[in-house]
Symmetry: C2
Subunit: 325 residues, 2 copies
Amino acid sequence: DLSWVRPVLCCGHAHTRTLHCLPFSRRAAVVISGTELARQIQREIQRDVEELVAQGNMRPHLGVVLVGEDPASRTYVKNKTRAASILGISSDTVVRPSSVSQEELLELIDKMNRDWRVSGLLVQLPLPEHINERAVCNAIAPEKDVDGFHIVNIGKLCLDQRSMVPATPAAVWEIIKRAGIETVGKNVLVAGRSKNVGMPIAMLLHTDRNHERSGGSDATVTIAHRCTPRGQLKELACLADIIVAAAGVPGLITADMVKEGAAVIDVGINRIQDPKTGKVRLIGDVDFDGVKEKAAFITPVPGGVGPMTVSMLMKNTVAAARNAL
Amino acid sequence: DLSWVRPVLCCGHAHTRTLHCLPFSRRAAVVISGTELARQIQREIQRDVEELVAQGNMRPHLGVVLVGEDPASRTYVKNKTRAASILGISSDTVVRPSSVSQEELLELIDKMNRDWRVSGLLVQLPLPEHINERAVCNAIAPEKDVDGFHIVNIGKLCLDQRSMVPATPAAVWEIIKRAGIETVGKNVLVAGRSKNVGMPIAMLLHTDRNHERSGGSDATVTIAHRCTPRGQLKELACLADIIVAAAGVPGLITADMVKEGAAVIDVGINRIQDPKTGKVRLIGDVDFDGVKEKAAFITPVPGGVGPMTVSMLMKNTVAAARNAL
């Protein structure tokens, strides 16, 4: 049985060094390096940006709105603007105190919507409680909405129309595509139904590949969530050719729930304290060590979906700049 | 084993005569009469309309736009306006030739959007090929869009926000609710991924019951479609507590694919010619005679989902009138 010798077959695209060089035995999964794939995408974005600029167009520009002092939000914003800068995308961050009124925020967004120098625009979430996040997401001009949270972009996503796809679902989709994982007619289990991760992933994966949006995967998709009884989750997971774990539950997916040869994409990012060292570390929703012995493909945490998401945001920013031409 | 004696347990609501009086044996499913449920809903709508009018409000009014001479479209429109009239909803149908330009059509819609006498507005589909249906659907004011096809209403549906839900998914959801079929933590198989039936049904059934929109069903939902291999469809169907057949494939769901005690909702409407009589008759996607021996609940075709849809459209029209107050 040579069905496990997958790496040589895994990819229609140029293989990344990581896919090639990983030590793998007949039984261990290909560990898909999101870090490596992200680098590949970053090189493509860089080329794209330089091409745009060489053609005499404005350099793509990302406008970021940051409200309040939340350290996590500040870190996320810094990562995004740093990534932009490395790729040749200019950016500016407008900071407002957490006491900012919704009205002021909407006015600021309106100003940035009308500013032709801003190609893409995002408001870092979460926002203070007195502000309606939905109203803020819907205030961003859909064509500048690089987070893809505007109601029209969500509607378009669900109708298979071209739209800004939120970064995390786009990252999952890009990983599946670039790793050469087959989707047509395959069973997919998405664990998690959040509106910016699980739901759009289910949308991207079940839809027709022959439509306006590049993509669609023609998979049979099951959406499971906190109300799915454990036994049923296992039963459905065992039928899945692809498992996307996006529930935010550490160790939700264990080896006994995975079909031999399945692809397991771990979107979970859970902070846990190591009982021995006391240090905080990141783990996913998948029991990596157990599952990698059974799966054909697996993404690690950290270093899997995470590093891909910022790249997808940058890709949306360049797309917004192109659309504005 | 008394698990088959379901009718007495089936419903949290007042039982309809049909649910009570249907002759059932220990092995035969409760046949859910959509005709009877529709009558029940019509009585509620009638009461609602009379209440609105008695409070001094305008009578709800449905504006219909009909393009061209297609006899099926004419029949659908006639059924809708007749249903409206019976329920005390006034209506008017604006007819345009199939040569109408998209611009003229959009102007007409704009006029009806701004007309305060029009509570709900629908354009009968399909439209001639030279007209972009999506542009037309998006031109209708979302708050008057009783078909629920506007991109914003689809976005809202997918975000669990209050919105106009398209009539067919709303009918399926109403049947499940009124028949007292449990959904929380149950497995649902939706066969069919069309944008106005399968996709929104999957949305309504998998989402959280504790959100803004009344509804959400907390079921684990699988979306299957034409790319789902037959064997996998059967495997997934056998795990389902509820099967919603919306593929447009006569006889797609057979008894061997149905778990004992499942609920089977047949959304298919297929016109076939009887080989013996030569007459055209309607059949669904479910092999009714076979499946009814195994299922606990089943909807017939005709007389199941079909009669419910016009009622749901009328419900949307009254909701639009209420929202405009």
